[in-house]
Symmetry: C2
């Protein structure tokens, strides 16, 4: 079972991803980020790589795509809160975006 | 240049896709449909096939995915209205979903 982030993890791991461009929506315990790419091929290529990681983690994003933009929201539905799985997937996506 | 659907095309082509589960949002000239799949792999597989068709047509959807659901909105930004490209992509997606 995945647990919600502890107070300590919020001060360290969550702050770390927030410092890297993720933000917290006001209405739920989640993190969101919009990635921009040069074109659709680059945007969907990013999604494809992220999708395989998500499936491997068995932790899936809520995401939308319009041409060169991909908007991602991460939360852990099992606990209705952020968990370390969200931090992990956020870091993977950031890494893929930098590649 | 792509043209907005003519009155005749709205009576034939548009009605045809509306009869196949697409609907028109009230706030813009577009069509939208939500596809459901057995799981994330099936949903993202559908998106991947549709993405390649979209790029080939140079006509891209607005779409979002949450686990096994894919919500698609089609419109033609160049003319700020529906065009035959939207009808074409809608039919392709319906065909991919049936495969």
């Amino acid at each position: 079972m995945t647990d919600a982030l502890t107070a300590d993890e919020r001060k360290t791991d969550l702050q770390d991803v927030l410092a890297n461009g993720w933000s917290q929506p006001s209405d739920r315990d989640a993190i969101t980020k919009t990635y921009k790419f040069r074109n659709f091929i680059e945007a969907f290529g990013f999604m494809t790589r992220a999708a395989i990681h998500a499936e491997k983690l068995n932790h899936h994003p809520e995401w939308s795509n319009v041409y060169n933009k991909v908007e991602v929201t991460l939360t852990t539905h099992d606990v209705d809160a952020l968990s370390l799985l969200d931090i992990k997937l956020a870091r993977i996506m950031d890494r893929l975006h930098e590649d």
